[in-house]
Amino acid sequence: MQTDMHAAQADASAAIAMGSGHASADTAPEPCQFISFTLGDDEYAIDIMAVREIKGWTDTTPLPNQPAHVLGVLNLRGAIVPIMDLRSRFGQGMTETTPMHVVIIVNVGERTFGILVDAVSDILTVEPAEIKGVPDNDRTGSEAYLSGIINADHGMVVVLSLRELFQ
């Protein structure tokens, strides 16, 4: 159990380090910040350092012959940025988009893309130790993008690794 915990924390830290370059596993634990958002009844979080901006949903230009979760591209001040439907990526069907839906523009590695979510809810500041591992009993390879769980006041928040999710 102890080992699992360590592995999980390393995972979470890796997710944090992604795209930002701050906090790493061997420095004194600094609080990590996440942006949390909702998708239906579920709450998820991503590393705040990866987030470039948050904007309302606008129509995209579809890209031909792409997986369903690729909603197309939009013009972000001159850059062509693809938008992904996170709900569809999780296999929960397509989001019925309204202007109230939110696109979170993120930088992952060299690339910039947007993820479509229902709403942004909070900024979470947590100690690394508070990020728990995802239980491994039902963990298959395809779920490597779940990098940890935070127990917030209002319930569990799942930390996502965007790199794993859209690699």
Partner: protein, 725 residues
């Protein structure tokens, strides 16, 4: 050595500048050496070659590239003798110089890539240089060059040990003091060698008001009576060799010359125009030329610049251009691209607003549009460069190859000053090289064969460039044997590129040389390679949005035409509507558009539809099917067929709902943030701020072929295609 006291990044920056300059200098050198091949160079030409070598030497010295310094020194010594007329120009010397130029380029590349060249790499050419100098210039000259060169060719010091008279002319460069050199120490050292008479040459000293106290203006002529060797004297000047012109002459038995030898100092600006009034100006121009660069603690990066600026041909006008990093210009181009899009958006909104208010268009709107357009043109013009830089490499290629193959070929070039975007120029070098190789290897006959068919012994290859509309047309034509259609067709059949029973028109056969994996050379030569020839050329040209055509006449020759857009950043596009989507078709590939009559249409099978126009049968591509666009017009007879040209001169018809309009569009990469999408070459932003995709016609044609060749499941409905991802 030069990094002392300057920060690493500064040093790196100067280093980059040095190599940029080297490459420009080498290109220039190439031009002159090419000319040398044709005829003896005049003094100006020799000076230019000398300057080129000298500039490289000066910079190389500053950066401590000793191999480069050693070699350029010898090269320069030979040129010096040529300038002096001590050696007559001859084809042999021209050859030595040309090969020397090659070696020089190789050494520069090696230095740039920080790799070592073989220890004996320069030895043969150095030996040759020493030899030709020996023939023409007397033993002293050879000893001078060879000893200074410290090359393997370095002749033994033949001078006897008796007392000799030396005349030493020292003309320091203007940056002498910046390199912390104290001439007095040199003089004292010389004094230590024997009896020394020193004369100071202060002719270049400007008036006090115009003098820059940090530059050196004085030169010296020493007469030394000593038993020392030339080597001993050279050692005294070892550390100032890069920044000063030093001429050591054995004048034993001669009356010491009263004045400095003008010729010896040619190329060092400061003292050269002694008799002219312009001397102070030259000095000042030099100083000014050096100023804009941030002054490095040592003369490092300034050395090449100063050496170049100090050349006799340089005029104050040399400062009329500046060197700018390409990525800064790219940023400017991008920003202006944004501006163009924003202006289009604004214009659209304002137009609607004016309509709504029932008023005249808002003032200034048209002026803004015009200014924006002009700004964009100006910015694009910055990146425009003459194709000369690519063309200049070709004479060498022709000479080398024709020599190797024993063919006689004259290369004629025209339109070298035609300008095209820098990014495109870079992409042109390989295809052009290959096409010319191809012409020489396959097209051109042996001299005897030419005479036999009544052609002049010497073949001609013409390379030309010209602007035609928004494109540049580059053509390579030869007066060789033309494409051997019989052989091409046989090869194509053997290789299974066309069916064995195919009946092809002459033009179609000619086009086969662009087929992947096709090579007609019976033997694989190191000249035309392994049949990755013309198909790669075509791919490269298409990669930059261009097209290539070939026309050939048996026994009269072959002509390749390249039609290339002027820039990669903008494109003349036709906006087409398919359902509620907007796509861009490059105007250059559009032949025509029409609404076919139902009688012109016919299905071959359930997915392949043809349209017949003026006796041609053309395959139809339905974007709505390929891209699964909902609510699009399916029946070509109810929409429009846009006829586009694809590789190989074939055509396909693309079905669209309607044409929206023609527009200059700014090309954006899709691949910065996403994987390549089949059938799409890029994207652009329309006036309404929406993204529109640019169609990749070549891929569309192949996509269709893939589907019909059954690589996908037999019945790929839209759902199945999506699932196949």
């Amino acid at each position: 050595m030069s990094s002392d006291g300057s920060s690493g990044s500064d040093f790196e920056r100067f280093r980059v500048t040095f190599f940029e300059e080297c490459n420009e200098i080498l290109a220039d050198l190439e031009v002159h050496l090419t000319q040398l091949q044709e005829e003896a160079l005049d003094v100006e030409g020799l000076n230019a070659v000398f300057r080129a070598a000298h500039s490289i030497k000066a910079g190389a010295g500053a950066f401590g590239f000793t191999r480069l310094v050693t070699f350029t020194h010898s090269f320069e010594a030979l040129l010096d003798k040529l300038r002096d007329g001590q050696i007559e120009q001859s084809p042999h010397i021209a050859d030595v110089l040309i090969r020397g130029g090659d070696i020089l380029a190789e050494l520069v590349t090696a230095a740039q890539e920080e790799r070592e060249v073989a220890a004996d790499f320069t030895a043969p050419i150095l030996a040759e240089i020493a030899e030709v100098m020996d023939e023409g210039g007397g033993a002293a000259a050879v000893a001078s060059a060879a000893a200074a060169a410290v090359g393997p060719a370095s002749a033994a010091d033949v001078e006897p040990n008796g007392p000799r008279s030396w005349q030493i002319t020292l003309a320091p460069g203007p940056d002498l003091f910046k390199n912390a050199t104290e001439p007095l120490l040199l003089i004292r050292e010389l004094q230590g060698l024997g009896d020394l008479i020193v004369r100071c040459n202060s002719d270049a000293l400007p008036t006090l008001r115009r003098m820059d106290p940090e530059l050196s203006y004085l030169g010296w002529v020493f007469t030394l009576e000593s038993t020392c060797t030339r080597q001993d004297i050279q050692e005294v000047f070892e550390f100032v060799d890069d920044t000063c012109s030093i001429d050591i002459e054995d004048v034993t038995g001669r009356t010491p010359r009263a004045t400095t030898s003008q010729e010896e100092e040619d190329g060092f600006g400061l003292f050269e125009p002694l008799e002219s009034d312009s001397a102070p100006e030259a000095g000042m121009a030099q100083a000014e030329g050096g100023q804009p660069a941030p002054a490095p603690p040592v003369g490092a990066a300034r050395a090449p610049a100063a050496a170049a600026a100090g050349a006799p041909a340089s005029k104050p006008a040399a400062a009329s251009s500046i060197r700018v990093e390409l990525n800064r210009i790219d940023r400017l181009v991008n920003t202006v691209g944004e501006l163009v899009i924003t202006q289009a958006m604004l214009s659209q909104e304002l137009g609607e607003l004016a309509d709504y208010l029932g008023r005249q268009p808002i003032a200034g709107q048209e002026a803004l549009a015009a200014l924006t357009r002009e700004l964009q043109e100006c910015v694009m013009a910055i990146r425009m460069q003459p194709v000369k830089s690519v063309f200049a490499r070709m004479p060498r290629l022709v000479r080398d190859l024709s020599g190797k193959l024993g063919k006689k070929i004259n290369l004629r070039m025209s339109g070298e000053h035609t300008e095209v975007d820098k990014t495109i120029i870079e992409e042109l070098a390989d295809p052009l090289t290959h096409m010319i190789r191809n012409s020489i290897d396959h097209g051109m006959e042996m001299p005897a064969d030419r005479v036999a068919v009544g052609k002049p012994e010497e073949g001609t290859i013409e390379l030309s460039a010209a602007h035609v509309g928004g494109n540049i047309v580059i053509s390579v034509s030869d007066d060789g044997a033309g494409i051997n259609r019989e052989r091409v067709l046989r090869k194509a059949m053997e290789k299974g590129i066309v069916p064995a029973d195919a009946v092809l028109s002459d033009h179609e056969i000619d086009e086969l040389i662009f087929a992947p994996g096709f090579s007609t050379a019976d033997q694989v030569t190191d000249i035309s390679g392994r049949g990755v020839g013309m198909d790669v050329v075509r791919r490269n040209i298409m990669g930059i949005g261009g097209r290539i055509q070939v026309t050939s006449h048996p026994a009269r020759g072959t002509r390749f035409n390249l039609l290339i857009p002027l820039t990669l950043a903008v494109l003349d596009g036709m906006i087409v509507a398919v359902g509620n989507q907007r796509y861009i078709l490059p105007i250059t590939s559009i032949v025509e558009s029409f609404r076919p009559d139902p009688t012109q249409l016919r299905f071959l099978d359930d997915r392949t539809q043809l349209v017949s126009i003026r006796g041609e049968f053309i395959r139809i591509i339905k974007l709505c099917d390929l891209f699964h666009v909902p609510d699009a017009v399916h029946d070509p007879a109810r929409g429009l067929v846009v006829l586009v040209e694809v590789a190989g001169g074939g055509k396909v018809g693309i079905v669209v709902d309607e044409l929206i309009g023609q527009q200059q569009i700014v090309i954006k990469s899709l691949n910065d943030n996403f994987d390549p999408v089949e059938g799409i070459s890029g994207a652009t932003i329309l006036g309404n701020g929406k993204v529109a995709l640019i169609l990749d016609i070549e891929q569309l044609a192949i996509m269709r072929a893939d589907v019909s060749s059954g690589r996908l499941p037999p019945d790929p409905g839209p759902a199945a295609l999506v699932a196949a991802e």
